[in-house]
């Protein structure tokens, strides 16, 4: 395994582990010949921009810092950069727009990694208004694609996640979620172009068939379906991706159903599951309860669920009416409130007056009001739990009690949501502060929650770079065969271990004893 280097790079940045200064300087020279002098960053000032802006190691020596950053502008550039990295055994860490905030931002798992910053690869290659898909490069943000669609007057929607400045490619690869019927972003990707660890170029699905016009229309191509192994992955750098879009619906409406007791959440979730799995209720389900006061005295505050409907004007009204009828017949005490209804397109004035238009396919940053003005950032804990009333009640009780015992404010617990079909995510948003001791306690609390959740069968769908080993450790069925299989693939496909060592707890052979 490479030894941690104490040498210093061109400025004060660390050298890549196991790489001497002469080789590092030579590698930077080769990178410069590929991407140009202006797009190789190696000064403190520039490289510090790639630290995690919301780091739980803020101002601590463990805070991961790269050795340099390279910004290619084409797939060919990326291929050349990967080949150079192999020649010098340099660890690379690729980012799209670097806005994976709360999960590590742009920072690498291993200090001294060389960043591959794909932001300059920002071409929107195709938008289909008739079959509702786009083909984009990793530097394209949700804002970028939205603006392009608006400027061309196309009648298609994107499904933004909370951070509108995020990359469609990056968010899909991290298996992020949004709020419209297209909310499962990895499920809505169709066709990838991938630079493999040896620099070779792969296209998945129908992209493997020269001349095929269905790369963004049919996921699977022929043979084993590969796309999944490039998500949350260190097996390639994705340089193009197809994403499915939503035809602009005629109308949207929201309705809220409330039940006064926790017991009623059980039949309510059964009815909501029926309605969602039969596509009557669409988009992300958002539950609300008196979570901020969730203790023994307030445990029976009841629940409210926001149900969303997208489609023809008359149909969304009928769907809401049907949802009310169905829930009322099962839970006579349930109450219903009509939410807002919109017809599309919306006027610019109407959009400007909305606090959060993300469920309407309009990207924004309103979610960053969370902790704004008080904290230095936040850290997300994000376990997947069953989509049942019983499981939600159990998870809220277990997590809120654990947070209380660990001294974390109950407001850190975010109400349950269904970003992904047939499951629930309950986020805990830990504040990152300027106080090192508070952040240390947060890291310890996070680790305890990972274990506690796993004991209940709840695993994180995604985690911060600092906890990837701990989370992967929990996915331990049959003596960690999942991790062993991943690492067998890693060693076979990336024998020099150059791509993202440690990503999601998967370490190449030469780095394996770095596992936390």
């Amino acid at each position: 395994m490479p030894e941690a280097s104490h040498l210093i790079g061109e400025d004060d940045m660390p050298l890549p582990p196991g790489v001497n200064e002469r080789d590092f300087t030579a590698a930077l020279g080769e990178f410069r010949r590929v991407v140009g002098d202006d797009w190789v960053f190696s000064s403190d000032e520039d490289v510090n921009l790639y630290r995690d802006a919301y780091s739980p190691f803020l101002n601590e020596p463990e805070d991961p810092v790269p050795s340099a950053a390279i910004a290619p502008q084409s797939t060919e550039h990326v291929q050349e950069c990967v080949r150079i990295a192999n020649r010098y055994s340099l660890p690379l860490w690729a980012i799209s727009t670097g806005k994976n905030l709360g999960y590590g931002g742009s920072a690498p798992r291993v200090s001294g990694s060389v960043m591959i910053d794909l932001k300059r690869m920002d071409r929107i290659i195709e938008i289909s208004e008739t079959n509702h898909y786009a083909l984009v490069e990793p530097g394209v943000s949700y804002f970028d694609l939205y603006r392009e669609i608006q400027s061309r007057g196309l009648k298609v929607w994107i499904d933004p996640p909370d951070p509108g400045w995020g990359s469609l490619v990056g968010n899909s690869l991290e298996r992020g979620g949004g709020y419209t019927p297209m909310r499962d972003h990895f499920a809505a990707q169709c066709g990838m172009e991938v630079v493999l660890p040896n620099g070779e170029l792969l296209r998945t699905g129908m992209g493997a068939l020269p001349g095929a016009e269905t790369w963004q229309q049919y996921n699977y191509g022929f043979g084993p379906y590969l796309d999944g192994i490039f998500s949350q992955s260190s097996l390639g750098i994705v340089t193009k991706m197809g994403v499915w879009l939503l035809p602009e619906p005629e109308a949207y409406r929201r309705g809220t159903v409330s039940v006064a007791t926790n017991e009623a959440l059980v039949p309510l979730m059964e009815e909501i599951n029926y309605l969602m799995n039969s596509n009557t209720v669409q988009g992300t389900l958002r539950l609300q309860s008196a979570l901020a006061a969730f203790d023994d005295a307030n445990v029976s505050q009841g629940w409210a669920a926001d149900l969303q409907f997208y489609g023809p004007d008359k149909v969304v009204d009928a769907q809401w009416e049907h949802a009310q009828d169905r829930i009322r017949s099962r839970i006579p005490q349930a109450t219903f409130i009509d939410g807002p209804k919109h017809r599309f397109p919306l006027s610019e004035e109407k959009i400007a007056g909305m606090a959060n238009a993300v469920p309407l396919g309009i990207p924004g940053l309103s979610a960053f009001q969370f902790g704004a003005g008080e904290n230095q950032g936040h850290l997300w804990f994000a376990p997947i739990i069953p989509m049942t009333g019983e499981a939600i009640l159990e998870a809220v009780n277990v997590l809120s009690q654990a947070l209380a015992e660990l001294g974390v404010p109950a407001s850190a617990l975010i109400p349950p949501q269904s970003y992904f079909p047939r499951s629930i995510v309950i986020f805990v948003g830990f504040p990152i502060t300027a106080d090192t001791e508070t952040n240390r306690q947060t890291r310890e609390t996070y680790r305890q929650l990972v274990k506690l959740a796993a004991e209940h069968g709840w695993g994180e769908y995604r985690t911060h770079i600092a906890f990837m080993d701990e989370v992967m450790e929990c996915y331990s069925f049959n003596d960690h065969v999942l991790r062993r299989f991943h690492e067998q693939m890693k060693d076979s496909i990336d024998p020099n271990g150059v791509l993202a060592p440690g990503k999601n707890g998967i370490w190449p052979a030469r780095w394996r004893d770095q596992r936390a």
């Binding site: 797009w39 960053f41 000032e45 520039d46 510090n48 921009l49 790639y50 802006a53 919301y54 950053a69 910004a71 727009t97 670097g98 806005k99 905030l101 931002g105 742009s106 910053d117 932001k119 300059r120 929107i124 530097g139 804002f143 970028d144 603006r147 392009e148 608006q150 400027s151 509108g164 400045w165 610019e348 004035e349 959009i351 400007a352 007056g353 909305m354 606090a355 959060n356 238009a357 990207p363 924004g364 940053l365 309103s366 960053f368 009001q369 969370f370 902790g371 704004a372 003005g373 008080e374 904290n375 230095q376 950032g377 936040h378």
Partner: protein, 108 residues
């Protein structure tokens, strides 16, 4: 404030259209509209504006475009180092020349 918000959205789209067509180095206002308005624009759901309202009350405008007390170094520091939940912006996002143009626009 409402009129400013509508204008900002229109500018946001118009700037993108120009940018997408010719890839030309955008004006300082276009840089501001693209990178700053989603957080520091007018209207609800803008975390940057919300924080500055809380921080300054009536002492200073919450909208950066209405401020007259900022300096080049002040703005450069916030963009390149970030503050609170605002992350720093890398040179692949806002180049040095775009940053200069954007600051010139705010200091106009």
């Amino acid at each position: 404030m409402r009129r400013l918000a509508v204008t900002a959205i229109a500018a946001f789209i118009a700037a993108a259209a120009v940018w997408a067509q010719d890839g030309a180095d955008p004006s300082g206002k276009a840089v501001y509209d693209k990178w700053c308005t989603p957080c520091h624009g007018d209207g609800p759901g803008k975390p940057g504006t919300m924080v500055l309202i809380q921080r300054y009350g009536d002492r200073l405008p919450a909208l950066l475009e209405e401020r007259s007390d900022m300096t080049y170094e002040y703005l450069q520091t916030f963009v390149r180092q970030g503050v609170g939940v605002m992350p720093p912006f890398r040179k692949t996002e806002i180049t040095d020349s775009e940053l200069e143009a954007m600051i010139d626009y705010l200091l106009r």
